[in-house]
């Protein structure tokens, strides 16, 4: 819900935003303030590559990406999510799994932006698809009761959603349905990237431009994950090819690094190595167009 103060702030900022730097001038990360006296710095020791874990790919959670978008200070944009009515279109396990991920990303955005009026509907839709995929334990009937009881409590709702998706992922992996798990992750990542481009104010928001450019790294991980299943069916093969094509555009994003110390204090390690993301307006637009095309094929 919009407050009058937020709306007023947006109008004040609008001319500044329109005149602000484009993606081509997206800069590096904000420097972390120097912490207190470091207790220990890490030794630089090389490790050896190890046995690949069965569930070795860790993708950014769509909720995390939604949280990163929200931290840029941008306001929520109506009309960007996949409508819940479309859930009836998804009749194969392939489309159900992908769109469970899509709706999961939409749910993440709803929760981080406190759009609680849509929370119940999207939780219900996610639950429906999970049930149809046979993942009953992760989204029991009681979950909707808990959501209702916690409407307005952003932290609790994010916990409920995150834990439910983790339980679903656990069920799928423990039952050797890794390819379904992969599709959910892929659908969630694609939707989160799509929403990021939609929220960027056509590339004018420098911070979101940077977050989009950074997805070069997680796209590499996603492609490695999907490559394991690209021969399973035509759908997986098409998805893999689309992601590879998207990668060719992401390769034009330049990410450079400046080394820095690793500082450890009070059960936290701060890695001060910095990254700088350079993404031109043209590359941003190309990424936005490609992810829109991929997304439209997933949801329609």
């Amino acid at each position: 819900m919009f407050s009058m103060r937020k709306l007023f702030g947006l109008f004040l900022l609008a001319p500044v935003m329109l005149a602000s730097v484009s993606c081509s001038e997206a800069g590096g990360t904000k420097e972390t303030k120097a912490e207190e006296t470091p207790v220990a710095t890490a030794k630089t020791t090389k490790a050896k590559s190890a046995k690949q874990a069965e569930s070795k790919y860790v993708l950014p959670s769509p909720m995390e990406i939604a949280s990163l978008i929200q931290k840029t200070g941008i306001n929520y944009t109506e009309g960007t999510l996949n409508p819940i009515e479309r859930v009836e279109f998804y009749t194969t396990n392939y489309t159900k799994a992908l769109n469970l991920g899509v709706y999961g990303a939409d749910l993440g955005l709803i929760l981080v932006f406190d759009q609680t009026q849509d929370a119940i509907n999207y939780f219900t839709t996610v639950k429906t698809l999970a049930e149809e995929l046979g993942v009953l334990s992760a989204f029991p009937q009681t979950i909707l009761n808990r959501v209702e009881a916690n409407l307005g409590n952003r932290d609790s709702l994010l916990d409920i959603a995150g834990n439910a998706f983790a339980d679903a992922d656990m069920y799928l992996k423990e039952n050797e349905r890794n390819q379904v798990s992969a599709l959910i992750l892929a659908g969630g990542w694609i939707e989160a990237l799509y929403l990021s481009t939609k929220f960027s104010n056509d590339g004018e928001n420098k911070d979101i431009c940077q977050r989009v450019g950074e997805q070069q790294k997680s796209l590499d991980v996603l492609i490695e994950l999907i490559s394991n299943f690209k021969d399973v069916s035509e759908g997986y093969g098409v998805l893999y090819a689309q992601l590879e094509d998207l990668k060719s555009t992401f390769s034009k994003v330049k990410i450079t690094y400046t080394e820095g110390p690793v500082i450890t204090k009070d059960r936290q390690t701060i890695i001060q190595r910095k990254s700088n993301v350079e993404i031109s307006a043209e590359v941003f637009d190309e990424i936005a167009d490609k992810v829109k095309t991929i997304r439209e094929q997933l949801v329609n």
């Binding site: 860790v58 992922d169 390690t269």
Partner: protein, 135 residues
């Protein structure tokens, strides 16, 4: 005889996998106040094996990595490595805490490695990851 061996192996594997779920549920409360990444990361390990997970962590964000096994959680060694396999953190340098927090100033690929301590035999290693939703 071969069929019997297969049946026995299936029971053993099923038992190990059920353990993974148990360990994940046991350690999940340690995520608080971080938010779950919505995924389940685990590896079945024999003695001497090291499992590896490939992750992307974002600049400006803080994460909690939990390394969990059972019945005693302090028998798991886990490490965080950068994209060039340099060790950033190893819990055996800090008396085997079962979780640690990390703040990154660079978005990049990282690796998490996990192995059971010498003498711990075989078992399931579970890695849970949470992100901070706070500014």
């Amino acid at each position: 005889m071969k069929r019997l061996a297969l049946v026995i192996l299936s029971f053993v594997a099923f038992g190990a996998i059920a353990q993974c779920e148990m360990y994940a549920k046991k350690c999940n409360p340690l995520l608080e106040p971080y938010k779950s990444d919505g995924q389940f990361h685990r590896a079945l390990l024999t003695e001497g094996e090291t499992a590896e997970f490939i992750a992307t962590f974002h600049a400006g964000n803080t994460y909690r990595i939990i390394g969990c096994t059972g019945p005693y959680s302090d028998t798991l060694i886990y490490r965080l490595l950068d994209a060039n396999y340099n060790i950033i953190f190893s819990n055996d340098d800090y008396d085997y805490p079962n979780y640690w927090d990390f703040k990154f100033n660079a978005t990049d690929r990282y690796y998490i490695q996990a192995e059971l301590m010498d003498g711990a035999g075989s078992g399931c290693a579970v890695i849970l990851i949470g992100f901070s939703d706070r500014k």
